[in-house]
Amino acid sequence: MNMPGIEQIIALYASYAACLDEQRFNDWPDFFTSDCVYRVIPRENHDAGLPLATISLSGVGGLRDRVYGVTSTLFHAPYYQRHIISLPCVKGADGEALLVETNYLVLRTKRDQLSEVFNTGRYIDRIVMTDAGLKFAQKLCVFDSELIPNSLIYPI
């Protein structure tokens, strides 16, 4: 494999954030490989080796179900998200995959409300090069936030 350069990796995160912040949720699964793993995990579970995740999806089909769930079935107050993602830290490679970690901060703005820190943590990712460009084979969103402010609806 041709290892991607840091600019390509930065561009991947930038377009990932833009996709979510522009609420193009139907495009979100396209950032992942067909057999991907996507998990949003409280840090305390991750650190203690406990398997429970707040959201745990496998395969791009699972991601599509989640998108359908949040856009068509869940009742919730609407809100904007704003992702601030740090520069990627390439930790190494595992076969075809690059191991990349980035810090993230998600701000939430509900209608008529002040903006607030919604969720913060780090992405622990496996990135692979495919014919369709760079994709996440794994994205673990391990969040520091001790309490979720009520509910976590949209992907982060």
Partner: protein, 414 residues
């Protein structure tokens, strides 16, 4: 938001019965203060955790009963203690870690040192330094133990009470609710799967109401309606203890659909299919003895969940009249196969703060609270299935909520 504070509890709830609930019951700081006193710190059992969270002597976890911080710790003899997290010296909440393992409990401020039973082992400079200072002659270590709560442990589940006059746990639950408790917790070894924590900006009782309300799941929750996990045509049973304070909603998933219960229900999606069908890879377990769901509310602070293969305890920690922390502890059994463990964890996608079912419960509670706060003269209507309190063999009733408020009015003298 400013809310009037009552100085006359007698006039808060003028009507009789428990089917019209006045807004101040959810918003008034004086009522909330009385709730802490009479309910959370009174003669009631409060859930504090599972024994597997403190597996060995010296292992502890920190949690709260009402707004008081407590430590659940196992002593050298293997017994569970619940100690108030407050140094007997200067009130320091000395324990700041959420869990861990210690030889003794030491308050870092002046190094007062307690054993796992909360007994004070020693204090620095008790007899002074070079004949100067020190504690008075009548200072006795045994007068300065940590506040040690009453504890009940049943089949791996731990409850604490600030009251030493509270009835035994089994009597507190009553035979019908105890049978539901023992259905899940029958003494099998448990395995901890992990936690989810959320802060819900609503009064704590709204969460108890939510799990005593079999009316909403078949309406609000698309996933329940569509996949038959909770629907008005499901065979079901609603039971309470004699006081009406605890309840169980027991039901069995329908494979077929009665058109009368989906007619006009906008959340029902006839053609909804999943890409990842493993989410609903439900496997019947022998201990269910039929029902696919059993939701138990133990007053005042815990909900025990069996929803198909997903198991959790959901602990309520009130933080003022208008908010509570909701702690989900998911677990399985030591006897589970790896496939069953994976299934339980996968089905957890339906529950918790991001759950495809539960996330909207938090949202509706928030907006109910907002509605109560905007007008103190309002009363909630709770009259589905009548105005009385009685067990039921169907779901079209709010009787369990009326049961809780009937008891609440007695305890609160409101």
């Amino acid at each position: 938001m400013t809310t009037a504070q009552t100085d006359d509890f007698a006039t808060v709830w003028s009507g009789s019965g428990s089917s019209r609930i006045p807004a101040p019951v959810y918003t008034d700081p004086a009522i909330y203060a009385r709730e802490l006193d009479r309910i959370f710190y009174g003669p009631h059992w409060n859930y504090v955790g599972l024994e597997i969270e403190v597996p060995e002597p010296g292992c502890f976890k920190r949690t709260s009963i009402g707004e008081r911080s407590v430590i659940v710790i196992r002593n050298r003899a293997g017994q569970i203690n619940v100690l108030e997290n407050r140094c007997a010296h200067r009130a320091m909440q000395f324990c700041q870690e959420k869990s861990g393992k210690v030889k003794t409990l030491v308050c870092p401020y002046h190094q007062w040192n307690y054993n796992h039973d909360g007994n004070l082992l020693g204090v620095p400079f008790q007899r002074g330094v070079k004949g100067q200072g020190g504690m008075p002659d009548d200072f006795r270590l045994e007068d300065h133990a940590l506040n040690r709560l009453n504890v009940a442990v049943r089949n791996g589940v731990i409850f604490g009470s600030f009251s030493h006059a509270v009835e035994p746990f089994e009597d507190y639950l009553g035979p019908a609710v105890l049978a539901c408790f023992d259905r899940t917790f029958d003494g099998r070894a448990l395995v901890l799967h992990g936690y989810s924590r959320q802060r819900i900006p609503g009064n704590w009782k709204l969460m108890m109401e939510n799990i005593k309300d079999p009316y909403h799941p078949g309406l609000l929750h698309t996933w329940f309606v569509t996949f038959g996990l909770w629907r008005a045509d499901n065979k079901s049973q609603l039971i309470m203890d004699d006081h009406g304070r605890h309840a169980c909603m027991i039901s069995k998933r329908s494979e077929t659909i009665d058109p009368a219960v989906t007619e006009g229900v906008t959340s029902f999606r006839r053609n909804m299919t999943l890409n990842d069908t493993s989410l609903l890879d439900i496997v019947q377990e022998p201990w269910w003895n039929g029902p696919t769901v059993c939701m138990t509310t133990i007053f005042p602070n815990v909900i025990l969940q069996q929803q198909v293969n997903s198991l959790s305890t959901r602990q309520i920690i009130p933080v003022g009249p208008g908010a509570f922390d909701f702690v989900w502890t998911h677990f399985g059994f030591a006897e589970d196969t790896p496939e069953m463990t994976a299934r339980r964890i996968h089905q957890a996608n339906l529950f918790g703060p991001g759950g495809l079912v539960s996330a909207d419960d938090g949202e509706v509670i928030e907006f109910s609270q907002d509605g109560f706060e905007q007008d103190q003269a309002f009363s909630a209507q709770c009259e589905l299935g009548g105005r009385d309190v009685a067990d039921s063999d169907h779901m079209v009733t709010e009787t369990l909520i009326r049961g809780m408020y009937r008891y609440w009015r007695e305890v609160m003298a409101i």
